[in-house]
Symmetry: C2
Subunit: 478 residues, 2 copies
């Protein structure tokens, strides 16, 4: 059969009267005559009208949801409802069948959990087709945003001997035989004999390496996988996830907030412009699902409204100190409705506090900055008060923290004393100190949890539904 025309092209250009060939997978087969064929290029399927006379009964028997087919014929205006055009097929090939007795993805409602267990097939559903097309557009928009602003994409290392956060639970990477490792004279596993001659782990962040590049190339960003070996079984955590980490020389904390807000709005705007059909489907599906919930649990806004709303708002920008004031004076704190009641300055904010600020108090995205230094990382720039650091977190409705960043400590002596205080090994990070020793300058950056962003845009409540093959404790399938 001839080369195929993609169905998105057919639906967009509607070449009525032309003979075309399409190929894809059967979504439904009605009245022994109408096949909805989807090839992944568009949310919508193309209706194929078959000529039963010209098809062998053998071929007819093979047409079931999930089967791969090719059809050649004339594109015509559709008489039926629900589509503008349809293909009157003169030829039909079934490339691969899908036995209706065993094929798991039938045209009916499946639970998300069932589809997670069949993640190799869930791309074939409306919901996951939409999600993974949107994930693509968001990825592309990230590259486009930074490229337009003359940032360079940096591939920071995945296997690393350092722990950027100084605290993460990490995966070890090794080639030693676990059952028969080489030992040192005192009976410990001899890591010098491992592949890299030392202990290595999977990266928890590309930030430190991005700083090295930023202090030469000016503006860089990473977009790569990062890992946390946390044993959390929540709908918010993955062991393997993708992070976007820009780093900019000569930017201070305010420039950093501007860049982050610009980026988030650019991304939201991009998907609103480029993923309308997929978003509308997810919007409608969420609306239907929400209508089943008790009134007080229904969201104030639909999915698309929420995206448009974020686009129109200036994000609130308040210091940590101001946030503590607001929270101390809030009803849930006074009535001890929070699980963690805020007692005063210095408290670490929990998800419930962040959500209160975003969803109840400001009712829009919030940037919190200038956090107490004791609850933040060693590399964040200490303010003149010597109590706070130039950290910033961006909080989104329904998601909580979507971005965390800071101006970096560029003063070698201050950085060293912070590392000492926090027991960060200096010898191992000599290269990080070197860029403060030679040509240091103010610089800032942040990390965007990419899956959190996809969650926000698609409205998915479980993070396992926005990455193709989620890795979580006990699960590395596919």
């Amino acid at each position: 059969m001839e080369k195929r025309t993609r169905i998105d092209q057919v639906l967009a250009t509607k070449p009525i009267g032309e003979i075309i060939t399409v190929k894809g997978w059967v979504r439904s087969f009605r009245n022994n005559q109408f096949i909805a064929v989807n090839d992944g290029s568009d949310f919508d399927s193309l209706q194929i009208v078959i000529n039963r006379e010209s098809l062998s009964s053998d071929t007819l028997k093979k047409i079931h949801p999930g089967a791969a087919v090719g059809a050649k014929g004339t594109l015509t205006e559709s008489q039926g409802r629900g589509q503008a055009v349809e293909l009157k097929a003169d030829e039909l090939i079934v490339y691969g069948e899908a036995d209706p007795e065993t094929y798991p993805i039938q045209p009916k409602k499946h639970t998300k959990e069932f589809l997670r267990e069949n993640a190799h097939l869930r791309f074939r559903t409306n919901t996951f087709g939409a999600i993974f097309r949107i994930r693509h557009e968001l990825s592309y928009a990230i590259h486009k945003f930074f490229h337009e602003r003359k940032f360079y994409y940096l591939h920071s290392p995945i296997i690393t001997a350092s722990d950027a956060e100084g605290a993460g639970e990490m995966f070890r990477v090794t080639t030693l035989d676990p059952n028969n490792p080489p030992l040192t004279t005192d009976g410990q596993v001899d890591l010098k004999k491992d592949f890299f001659g030392r202990e290595t782990n999977l990266t928890v962040s590309g930030q430190l390496e991005a700083e090295l590049a930023a202090l030469a190339l000016g503006q860089v960003y990473t977009f790569g996988p990062t890992f946390r070996a946390e044993n959390s079984h929540t709908s918010r955590h993955l062991a393997e996830f993708w992070m976007v980490e820009p780093e900019v020389a000569f930017n201070d904390i305010n420039d950093n907030m501007d860049l982050a807000e610009d980026m988030l709005k650019y991304l939201i705007n991009y998907v609103l412009e480029h993923c309308r059909k997929d978003l509308q489907f997810l919007h409608n599906a969420a609306e239907k699902e929400d209508s089943q919930k008790p009134k007080n649990q229904r969201p104030d806004m639909g999915l698309i409204d929420r995206l448009e709303f974020c686009l129109e708002q200036d994000f609130a920008r308040i210091t940590y100190t101001e946030a503590i004031d607001i929270l101390m004076n809030s009803k849930p704190n006074k009535k001890k409705k929070f699980n963690y009641v805020i007692e005063g300055w210095g408290a670490d904010l929990q998800s419930e506090h962040e959500r209160y600020l975003v969803e109840k108090h400001f009712k829009k995205p919030v940037i919190l900055y200038n956090y107490p230094k004791d609850i933040k990382s060693f590399y964040m720039k200490v303010n003149d008060d010597n109590k706070t650091v130039r950290a910033m977190d961006i909080l989104f409705p329904g998601i909580g923290e979507i971005i965390g960043g800071s101006e970096r400590e560029e003063n070698l002596d201050v950085l060293k004393s912070r590392m000492k205080e926090m027991n960060i090994p200096m010898e191992e990070l000599y290269w990080y100190l070197d860029i403060r020793k030679y040509g240091s300058c103010p610089h800032s950056g942040y990390g965007l949890g990419f899956e959190r962003m996809v969650q926000f845009v698609t409205g998915m409540s479980n993070i396992r539904d926005v990455i193709p093959f989620p890795r979580t404790p006990g699960n590395a399938s596919f």
Copy 2:
């Protein structure tokens, strides 16, 4: 000091007479008056002319190569040679010094090996600035190429329980304490107690997962890190490298060759159009280096000429069988000059044979296809001759294999018997078999070793010089 204007903007728009601020790193300081400042946005530096009267001697003393500075003043036409404009600075700030006694990157020629040991600072040199800007443009061009053709970017998993090639030497990923692992009753390490409840490894390829997505979304590509735990200390191998793997439903081996050739030409054309200054520098540097070599070791073409040449040629496309004929009849084979003399059909081609075909016989890129099935992977489509598979390799001058791909075996029974023959565990790959069971169709894809591509475009002979922080046996620094 005010926000900076990027130097590439200053050089491109030349706003003579305007007061501007630039920030960057000193490349050189001549006559106590002329500072070449580079901010990474452009290969070229901007000449800053300082007003010595207005600067304290303390500030003057801090100006050395590598120091971070900011300068504000009026842009004027330059009287000197070598630049069109210069900045007459009224203000100058030194953000961070670079002690000339200890700063490793002095304005002189450093060996590549020295710069590898100082990979955290090598971004600050002309050569590595150029390489990593080109690496960025190539990455962007890859996303742009596939996006324009409606491919979706797929994030295939990094931690995996499967071995796509059925043969790779892999890194294990674990959270078990190597010195005190949990044991089963028969004394072996109990992998059920590991983080994922089983043995897991770092991926060697995203292909199998890309196939799952392609058979629903139509056309996808991966662009992510992949890993080989091979103990090779060559200039051609990395333990961690980036791969680009498109996968297309309904494409056969010929479509696959077309796509790969189109992509390679698109990428080469993109860098020729977007990286001219950086390429010219690398071209000139290579020319100078080559001129030191004996005549018979000098390349026929300069770097840019080689890129343009590849663009103009149709790649030669020959079967493996034809290649064997050519090689058997070649001078080096007859005179036993090859290290591995080709004895007949079935031989695995070595790098020396590939280079002969590309550099001596065809003198252009070559696509070899239809290889003996016994030397290729289980998932490649078996031809009707039952002797060969629809594999293809693209061979480039100076690089050798840059792309490897195939049409995939879409017939469930043939695939199963191939897996059996080659001892590939079927139970573990049930999901891979499922997509042949349900809605199977012809499909094809390939893998591009991204660093090989960057090598070809930049002319770097050592692969460690085209990735920011190379991982090789014994080396996971930075």
